[in-house]
Amino acid sequence: MSRDRYSRFRKFHQAKWDEEIIFELSVPGERGVLVPKAEKEVAAAVGDGVSALAGLKRKKAPALPEISQMRLNRHYLRLSQETMGTDVNIDISQGTCTMKYSPKVQEHMAARHPGITEVHPLQDPETMQGILEIIYKTEQIMKEISGLDYFSFQPGGGAQAVYTNASIIRAYHQSRGDLKRDEIITTMFSHPCDAATPNTAGFKVITLMPDENGFPPIEAFKAALSERTAGIMITNPEDTGIYNPRIKEYVDAAHAVGALCSYDQANANAFLGIARAHEAGFDMCHFNMHKTFSAPHGCMGPATGAVGYREFLRPFMPVPRVEFDGSRYYLDYNCPQSIGKTRSFLGNFGVVLKSYMWIMQHGAEGLKEAAICSVLNNNYMMQKLKKVPGVVMYYDFGVGKNRLEQVRWSWEKLQQDTGFGTTDVNMRLSDFGIQHYWTSHHPWVVPEPFTLEPCESYSKDDLDEYCGVLAEISRECYEEPEVIKGAPHNGPTHRVKHMEIDDEELIAVTWRQYLKKKGLKK
């Protein structure tokens, strides 16, 4: 029988090692590893090798620390213990990130099989047929999932995928000589990369604000469209978990003025097998393979943003494309209108491999089941969290309206009642063995926000434990304010004096800069 997760909480304490910065461990003369040396005959033939560098020979050795291997191993394992990855906590907190379980069998293949770890990306395609086959097959799968016609797995992350799509929009209009199209429209609840990447690609960006429904009114959207609109780049459901039901109208209106429509599907976990970019009319899309398809986040990468296109955009796709002639897989570089590359080689193949394995273990039914359970989990949590004192759900339309896979919540009422806002609650959360939550991207349109995404990986017990902890912290805010004020109490470190450092005097992004700022000599 499981414990009551609303009354019995973990007496958690994260590892706290007070570990030195690595330079403080240095003992002159110690070695972490010995490296291969040239054979006598080689040295006899060429000498010391480095004299050839003449004036470009390094004069002063880099001031790296000197540490024996056992101490190094201990150092890094201590740091890993002071990190709260998905593997060790109920990682519902990182809303918009889909902190899914990454099955170990995938990692064992990707990190240990020489058929990937020891393959050079420029090998003769004949010698890497397995890799090309997996890429090709994953492309066929993604075509079914999205309804679009072609995919590339080159981008090394979600933002780079959206940037790739902004580049494709630019290449398309440039190829037609339609050079006046220099505007991209996005929405405030679309990920910041939907605004930042088109700007990097040279577009002016128009960001539309939501109305009381949580998304921009169609009238405002139509008013922003013109012959200068190059494209729209939006998420749906947006980071609020609200699906814009009129999305097709937006897409049709954009098409009517000659713009392209790019679908940021970072939130696709909500609708695998249930809704597709194709039916909504989009010309291109992207998926985060490291979120939706289970590859781990790796402290922010490596990742893969899969980009998908309709037939007419194929000429602009990144090179090379993986093709199949019926018997052999090969690389096609012959794409004269291609944008070129946004990331070197074939991208992060390891992430594609893990995604492929995950998809193959689920099949069409299983993908749909993942989506359904992610939405079910979220709606179950909604029922529980709505009852927590101090919690507000913005854009709450009452009976009959739900969210898909996540919710942007608010502690607005809690703040009004107790003075404690979302940051205060967040500081306390990790004391219960739960990663602190994601508030919101900036600016905070929803006041005192927190964004939770309980994807299909989490059990009902996990959801109850999470809700129980939030209810307990809410109770503390009302009844035991002192506990909240000093939090976190049980973490690897305490509240940082400056969570955001803008003062030049306080900036220390490397150890040498820190020593300089402190007036300490190296």
Binding site: P36, L64, I116, E144, P245, C299, C373, L404, I507, R512
Partner: protein
């Protein structure tokens, strides 16, 4: 097994009884009701995705994957002399040990109150790289060397507002494609890429550089070692030309060379960048790249970085380390389209790994690995140049890679590399497509992992191939 009754090991609530209990709490009878209220019928997919038959059990998916990966030849069963930005190197066991830890593998964007170890490991990465580059400032990593090089150019453009970058005509072709796209804009490129002439070893033609430098040049970008492996002996002179014209001087390095080669900061670079794949990563089919940019401690540079920066700070407890975000407003997380370019998930795990590598190697290890690479690559060049009809075109000192020309053998590089596969050797990168003027040339890469015996085997095989 009835399909409908499958309980997926990674979806705990696929247990029908649990699902029913949860639906009761929500007040629905079928989970599809949750969609029917949200997604209009015309936008819902009516068909069934035509995906391959699933392979449910773990053993079978493992077998299936092993069979696919088994179709790849690799650098464990072959000798690999391919480099070109992804050279085979020795990976200390500690690197794999640390990046395989579940906590690092599965962490994401947690603050330092819960992810203190991640922040410290990434702070240590920037700190160790700073020592290697002999510069002060780095952000957390970029996607790869190509994106780091490209962002360096955009930084230079923002610093001085100029619209042309000078790059070597024989720069890494992958990076050139990335940079070409990254400097493009609407309606036309806002940073014009102009190439500087190079000799056969990729070295900059100083006269051509002088003729192209102008007050519109935001940066002179070089690689050292060059893409073709040569050491750019005129690096200091190039920097002087750049700086005299008021341009930034960006030097792209292979960081594993910096134990023996001078850090660009010490011959005039204002921005150092590169790909840290060589520092503890496997080949990974190209999936283990990571980019970095290093600069001086000057707000002129610091405020132009595009990615997150982790600053060492203090906590409420005396003497305790904590970390905070530095100048968050620079990034697109903080200010959307008003940010410096864009940021996002990149290569955190590999950056931590590069930190482990540098700490493990220490100053002596970095010097030794650089020395071994230079000795063995020189030995290989010496031996190969003795082969009939084969010419090694180094044009001076080189690091790790060198050009081998086969014109006189009457064979193409493609033919030679095909034949070398018969000896279980991956020959050097074929340069004839990217640089046709270089004839039938290949870029050979020799590192600390290639023993004398390996090199002798290559020479034996090449001899057999070119003389038949």
């Amino acid at each position: 097994m009835n399909k409908k009754q499958i309980v997926y090991p990674y979806i705990p609530n696929s247990v029908p009884e649990v699902k029913a209990e949860m639906m009761k709490v929500i007040g629905i009878n079928d989970p599809m009701e949750l969609y029917e209220r949200e997604i209009p019928e015309e936008l819902r997919f009516k068909g069934e995705m035509q995906l391959p038959e699933p392979i449910y059990d773990e053993y079978s998916i493992k077998r299936h994957t092993e069979e696919l990966l088994g179709k790849n030849k690799n650098a464990q069963d072959h000798l690999c002399f391919l480099g070109a930005g992804c050279a085979p190197h020795f990976v200390p066991a500690l690197c794999d040990e640390v990046n395989g830890r579940g906590e690092f593998l599965t962490a994401y964007v947690g603050e330092s109150i819960a992810d203190h170890g991640k922040w410290q490991a990434l702070f240590e990465y920037t700190s160790l790289m700073a020592e290697l580059c002999d510069m002060d400032i780095l952000s957390i990593p970029m996607y790869d060397g190509g994106t780091a090089a490209s962002s360096s150019v955009r930084m230079a453009n923002r610093i001085n507002g100029r619209g042309t970058v000078l790059v070597p005509e024989k720069m890494n072709p992958e990076n050139m494609l990335i940079m070409k796209n990254y400097t493009n804009s609407m309606p036309e490129p806002d940073i014009k890429m102009v190439t500087i002439k190079c000799d056969g070893a990729g070295l900059i033609d100083l006269d051509d550089l002088r003729s192209k430098i102008s007050s519109d040049v935001c940066a002179v970008f070089i690689e050292n070692p060059t893409y073709l492996g040569s050491v750019e002996v005129n690096a200091e002179a190039i920097g002087k030309i750049a700086k005299k014209a008021g341009a930034e001087y960006i030097v792209y390095v292979d960081p594993i060379s910096l134990g023996v080669m001078e850090a660009p900061a010490n011959y005039g670079a204002t921005i150092t960048c590169g790909d840290f794949h060589s520092l503890g990563m496997h080949l990974g089919a190209g999936g283990c790249q990571g980019g970095f940019i290093a600069t001086y401690d000057d707000m002129k540079y610091i405020s132009e970085f595009k990615d997150l920066m982790y600053g060492l700070s203090e906590t409420s407890v005396e003497g305790e380390y904590g970390f905070g975000e530095v100048l968050y407003g620079r990034t697109s997380y903080g200010s959307r389209d008003k940010a410096n370019e864009f940021t996002g998930t990149s290569t955190g795990l590999w950056a931590i790994t590069a930190g482990v590598y540098l700490a493990t190697m220490g100053p002596q290890g970095m010097e030794e690995v650089g020395t071994t690479i230079m000795q063995r690559s020189q030995y290989a060049a010496q031996k190969i140049s003795a082969l009939p009809g084969v010419e090694v075109k180094t044009g001076g000192p080189f690091f790790q890679e060198f050009v081998v020309n086969f014109d006189m053998t009457g064979k193409t590089v493609a033919e030679i590399n095909k034949a070398l596969l018969g000896y279980k050797i991956f020959g050097g990168k074929d340069l004839s497509l990217d640089f046709p003027a270089m004839g039938q040339s290949a870029l050979y890469c020799v590192t600390e992992i290639h023993t004398q015996q390996d090199i002798d085997k290559l020479v034996y095989a090449l001899n057999g191939v070119v003389s038949c």
